[in-house]
Amino acid sequence: MYRWITIGLLTVALISVSIWGYQTNKQKNDLYVQAENEYQRSFHELTYHMDVLNDQIATSLAMDSPEKLSPQFVDIWRVSSNAHANAGELPMGLLPIHKTEQFLAELGDFTYQTAIRNLDDDPLTDEETEQLQEFYRQSGEIRDELREAQHVALNNDLKWMDVEQALLNTDSQKDNEIVNSFQTVEDSFDNYAKGSTENTTISTDTKEHSYKNLPGDELTEEAAIKEAAKIFGKESETDWSITKSGDGAVTPMYSISYEENGVRGYVDLTVKGGHPLHLLVSRDVNEKQLSLNEGYEIAADYLSELGFDEMQLFQSSEYDQIGVYSFLYEDNGVRVFSDAVEVKVALDNGDVTGLTANNYFKNHVDRDIPEPAVSEEEARDAVNPNVTIQENHLAVIENNQGEEILTYEFLGTMDDATYRIFINAETGEEERVEKMTDAEINYDAVI
C-alpha cells in the first residue's frame, strides 16, 4: 500500500521535474537563439554595408561633377556610420572588427568634410583623390576578409555565441573556426596599428599631443610627496603611497594618495616640474552651509595660491552639496578655451575637493594673439538675425583640425534656448554653434 503511494508520488514528482526541466531548457535555448540572431544580424549587415561602401567609393572615384560627388559623399558617410554601429555590436577583441571600426571612422570623417565643402569652388586636391583611392583599396581588403569569414560561418553553421565562449577561454585554446578565420587581435594588432597611422592623412584624434607647459626640473619621489603634502596642506605624518606611471602615459607622472579619517586624497603630479594634473578628495559631504558664490571665492583663491594667474570664471554649477567651477585663461581679455581648469568645492565647509588642470598644462603657451581682422559689427552680422545677442567675448578655440583660431564668441537667445556662437575673427565665417543644455526636469521629484 505505502509502496504504491510512494511510487505514485515519485512518479508525479519525476514528471513535474521533467516538465520543469524541459521548459527551462527551452527558455534557455530560446534566449540563446535570440542573442545569436542579434549577432548574426549585426555581422551580416556589416558585411553588406562594406560591400556597398566599396562600390560607392569606386563610383565616387569615377565621378567628375561636384553636383554628383557631394551627394555621393553624403551617402558614403551615412552608410559608414551605420556600419560603424554594426561593428560596435559584435564582440570586442577581434582584429578585423577593430580594423573595420578604425577604417569606418576615418572614411566617415573624410567624406563628411568633403561633402560639406563647396566642391565647385574648392574641388578635391590630388592628395584627397589619393586618399580616396587608398580608402578604396582598404575597403576592398576589409570586404574580402569579412566575406571570407561570412562564407566560413555560413557554410559551417558557426555561432557567434561560441566565439564569445572561445574568446573567454583562452587558456584552454578551444578551436573555434570564426576566431581562426579572423585571427585574434593578439597576433597582429600592433602590425596593423603601425601600418595604419602612416597612411592616414587626417588625424581623428587631435587631442593627443604632448604637454606644452611643464616648466621645472624632474622630481624625485620624495620631492613629489613633499609637493603633494603642500598642495593638500598636510603634515609630514601622513602615510603616503606613491606609484610612477608606465610607458603608455603621455607624460610621466606620480600618482600620490593618502587615506585618513574617512578622507581619501589623490593627486597626479607630473614628474617634470611636479604640476598637479588631477586632484581628488573623496569624503562624505554634509549639509550645505555655503552658497555657490562663496564656493567660487574659495576656488578662485585656491587657484591663485597654486600659481594660476589670469583665470576667469567660465561656468559654475551646483550638484547636490558640491560646487563645480570651470575657469578659462584670459590673455589680455581673450578667453582661451583650451586652457581650462576645473575646481570642485564641498559646500559644507568650503574645502576644495578637486582640481583638474590637465588641459592647462597640455595646451597653455605664451600666445601671440593677432588683432581680429573682422570688426565686431561684421561678426555680429554673421550671426543668424533671429538670435538675440546678449553677451560677447573674444575667444581662442580649437577648430575641427585641432588648430587654435581667434573668434568672436556670442552668447544669444532664440525663443527659450541659449546658444554659444563662434565667428572666426580672421575670415568672418561661422565656426561653431552650440546649444546650451538647460536644467533638466527632476524626475525623482515628479514620480
Binding site: 560596435g88 578604425q102 543644455t437
Partner: protein, 257 residues
C-alpha cells in the same frame, strides 16, 4: 518682590519665544537669504529670484529653482533696465531693488510649482530637493549619468574613488575614439567590453559615490591618463590586453592606452 518678578520674566520669555516661532518663519521666508546668487545655483533663493523676475516680466520660463541660462538673461536684463551694473549676479543691491519692485507670494508660487508636477505624496516630503529641475552637465542628460553610474558601480565599486572616476573616464575616452561606437550606450553595451555588462552586475543599484565619480569624469577629471582599456590582472581573460602600453595602476585595475 523677587518672587513675584520671576514668573513674570518666565512668561515674558515664553511669549517672546512663542512670538519668534509664530512670526519669524513667514518673515524670513519671503526675503532672500544673504547669499550672492550666481548662475548654476539651486534652491529656495533661486525660486524666489525666478518668481520675482517673472512677476516683473523679465523671466518667462518655468519656476524650477535652478539658476540656468533663462534666469541669467532675465537677471541681466533687469539689471540693465534698472541702471545697475550688469554682472548676472544677484548681490545685495540687486536683491534689494528686486524686493522693492516686485512681490513674492511664496505659498502661491510653491503651489503652482507643485501643481505642474504630480504633487509629491504627503508623507514623502523631500525637504532637501525642493526644486523641480536639476543641473546637468553640458551635453548630457540625467539618464546618461545614471547609465554610466550603473556601469561604474558594476565595474569598480570596490575600488578607491579615483579608480571609479578613471573607469568613467575610460568610457568617455572610448566615446571620443574612432575605434569604439559613437554613443554612450554603444560603448557600454559593446559585447565583451565590460564584464559588469556581461554578468549583469551593471543592474545593481549604484550608490552616490559612483554618480559623483561619473560627474567628475564628465566635468574633465581623468585619473586614467587618457586610457582606452583597463583590466584586472588577476582575472584578465584575454592575453592581448597585456600587449597594450600600460599607463598606470589604480587599485586592482591596470589602465592602458
Amino acid at each position: 518682590m523677587n518672587r513675584q518678578q520671576k514668573p513674570m520674566i518666565y512668561s515674558l520669555t515664553f511669549f517672546i519665544l512663542l512670538a519668534t516661532f509664530v512670526f519669524a518663519k513667514p518673515e524670513q521666508a519671503d526675503a532672500f537669504s544673504n547669499q550672492v546668487i550666481q548662475q548654476g545655483a539651486v534652491g529656495e533663493d533661486v525660486i524666489e529670484l525666478q518668481a520675482r523676475l517673472k512677476h516683473i516680466g523679465f523671466y518667462n520660463g518655468k519656476i524650477d529653482g535652478v539658476f540656468g541660462w533663462g534666469t541669467y538673461w532675465a537677471l541681466r536684463n533687469f539689471q540693465y533696465e534698472f541702471g545697475m551694473e550688469i554682472d548676472g549676479l544677484a548681490g545685495q543691491s540687486t536683491k534689494d531693488k528686486l524686493t522693492k519692485a516686485t512681490e513674492y507670494d511664496e505659498q502661491k508660487v510653491k503651489q503652482e510649482m507643485n501643481g505642474t508636477q504630480a504633487t509629491p505624496s504627503g508623507g514623502n516630503e523631500r525637504e532637501s530637493t525642493p526644486t523641480g529641475s536639476v543641473n546637468v552637465p553640458q551635453g548630457y542628460s540625467n539618464n546618461d549619468i545614471q547609465l554610466m553610474a550603473n556601469a561604474v558601480y558594476g565595474e569598480a565599486r570596490g575600488e578607491p574613488y579615483e579608480g571609479q572616476v578613471a573607469v568613467a573616464a575610460v568610457i568617455l575616452n572610448r566615446l571620443n575614439s574612432p575605434l569604439f561606437p559613437d554613443t554612450l550606450s554603444g560603448v557600454i553595451f559593446e559585447p565583451r567590453a565590460f564584464t559588469a555588462v556581461a554578468d549583469g552586475q551593471i543592474w545593481l543599484e549604484p550608490n552616490e559615490k559612483a554618480r559623483e565619480a561619473v560627474l567628475d569624469a564628465i566635468n574633465g577629471w581623468d585619473p586614467s591618463g587618457n586610457a582606452l582599456y583597463y583590466f584586472n590582472p588577476d582575472t584578465a581573460t584575454s592575453g592581448w590586453i597585456w600587449t597594450r602600453p600600460q599607463i598606470k595602476t589604480i587599485g586592482k585595475h591596470i589602465f592602458c592606452s
